[in-house]
Symmetry: C2
């Protein structure tokens, strides 16, 4: 009986302009911050960010039983930290991310600016956290950024509290 292996991650090649975007640079910074033991020193950017890119087949191969592992949780936090940093850069005020994973891969991610909740999402199947490509990940982050800036623009006094 042969086992079909999940295909390799389809992350963008090293010369893709995606690596020059603020978001991907911030993801790299956030991800490097997790590397306490310097295991990624000398590795390519694509290798460091590879864990965020998962094909549908790769996701399907990950069981969603029990709590997600530490590495996955750290990636979920890095993603929301990066969004918070971008919000902060755009609006000039501190944006604070909160990620709460409860049980079995469910949770909630919040970003607050002052007394304003600028992002609030339910997380599901955190075990399978990943995107089709870095570009898809950036699109998702850009969506949250746009909504956040819209809310801040609408209630600047609450964001400034």
């Amino acid at each position: 009986m042969s086992v079909t292996l999940a295909p390799a991650s389809t992350i963008e090649p090293a010369d893709d302009p995606i690596y020059l975007t603020d978001f991907v640079r911030e993801m790299l910074r956030q991800t490097r911050a997790l590397d306490s033991y310097g295991q990624w020193d000398g590795k390519t950017v694509a290798a460091i960010l590879a864990g965020y890119v998962l094909s549908k087949e790769q996701k399907r191969a990950i069981p969603t039983i029990g709590d997600p592992d530490e590495v996955t949780l750290a990636r979920v936090k890095a993603f929301h930290n990066a969004i918070a940093v971008l919000i902060e850069k755009e609006c000039g005020q501190m944006a604070v991310p909160f990620v709460q994973i409860t049980h079995e891969g469910f949770g909630r991610a919040l970003i607050t600016v002052g007394k304003l909740v600028v992002m609030d999402r339910t997380l599901r199947d955190v075990h399978r956290f990943g995107f089709d490509s870095l570009s898809k990940m950036k699109t998702e982050a850009d969506k949250h950024l746009a909504v956040a800036l819209e809310i801040i623009g609408k209630y600047p006094d609450v964001a400034g509290m």
Copy 2:
């Protein structure tokens, strides 16, 4: 050499009117919800809530090294859940509590109503979470409730988002 034992918790006697307040009733409800195995069945209200009342000496005897234990974390969550329930009762909108304990007993507790952060506090020395009496605990909760309702009154449209 004799060891000075911490004095027993100075929780209010069973006929104290504090037990009739909405807050203490809600604390009882929240705390009972933690009792999956029915260990508190048949116990007095004072016995069930005793863990929230710690004298200064008792607090001092608790080491703040490492992560706080599960029971303490559950109490911190129950306290903030109860505040959220009171906010909800007063303003008629859903109040969502969020407690994040990071490392070594530090953390943050948030309550949101709509897109409004109505409570935001830093937690410290969570290992020693406790109050001089139920009355002191209620005073603390009432303070957060009052501030929350003030913010909601000021920004009803953000709370209603």
